[in-house]
Point group: C2
Chain length 154, copies 2
DNA sequence: TCTGTTTAGGTGTGCGTGCAACAAACTAAG
DNA sequence: CTTAGTTTGTTGCACGCACACCTAAACAGA
């Protein structure tokens, strides 16, 4: 209210920010709910599996993976623990660097990913893309690129 | 990759969705980090305090508050517990409905909010609004309104 | 008035996350 | 070769959250 103007934010600007938060949470919850219900797969796990599937040799160093997924290194360690326990991912040592570990997608992991992907993509379309006008994607791309700062997969 | 086209999503559409997630996490972490560092106040707590400050009589029913903040009812219960412990919020019974409880902002809570608000607003401007072109706010407003689905404060 | 249903809020529990501290392996300077 | 500094991944810990369940109060219809 009064606090707002003192810092030069309009009411609209604050409302937009709040709605952005709300939108993000809303979309994410829907998506995760569907993924959990249909495939017992959390969103973060799906993200890891899909990143690995895209990577050459289906493998990525823990550190690289943590950079792509939105997770701290320790968070990723635990998540890979779970995925390994479920047989979707394996850890393999790195030849050139004895400290390094690869997370590598198993066949079971690839199968699980393939199974869940239609649900995921349908969700992204239904909860996100369908709200965009046909020509808006380009604008939104430029916008989120600016907001995201760093690139997606360096 | 191959999985993508089968469901009719372009590579660009998926990239936009991923960047949106990345952007949201990035902004939120920056904002929360600054708020925590400067005022030892988590983002969720700031949100609650500001919602209460905006409400008539500085008070809101737990349920209403949970609707505005992006939190489950149980999550809000615990958060209010903490805020009450720190003296920023009090619980007061509701006259007309014996089940109801108001969360009401204390003077200390209002002071803490006033102290943290410049940091918060600066952060929103720096990490979000500054990435928008001067005329983009209106477009973004329409977009996020569609994405958020429900209204902000019904 | 009584009984079944709905709503408000809180509690028990388990999960996922980040931070700080750690050990091991690499790297660079002397 | 040695030593100091950096990077990689893991672990101890505490925190915050949601889900399922619970109690008390309100409401509905007979």
């Amino acid at each position: 209210m009064t606090l707002l103007r003192d810092e030069g934010l309009t009411v609209e600007e604050l409302a937009v920010w709040r709605m952005l938060q709300r939108a993000q949470v809303r979309i994410t919850r829907h998506l995760e709910g569907e993924l959990l219900l249909a495939h017992d797969l959390p969103l973060a796990s799906y993200d890891v599996l899909s990143r690995l599937a895209e990577a050459p040799e289906r493998r990525l160093r823990m550190n690289d993976l943590a950079g792509r997924v939105l997770l701290s290194r320790s968070g990723l360690t635990r998540l890979i623990d779970r995925l390994q326990r479920d047989g979707l991912v394996n850890r393999e040592a790195c030849e050139s660097d004895a400290r390094g570990l690869f997370a590598v997608l198993t066949d079971a992991g690839a199968a699980r990913l393939a199974e869940a992907t239609p649900t995921y993509l349908r969700g992204v379309r239904a909860h996100f893309l369908d709200s965009l006008g046909p020509d808006e994607i380009g604008q939104v791309r430029q916008l989120v690129t600016r907001l995201a700062g760093a690139t997606d997969a360096p």
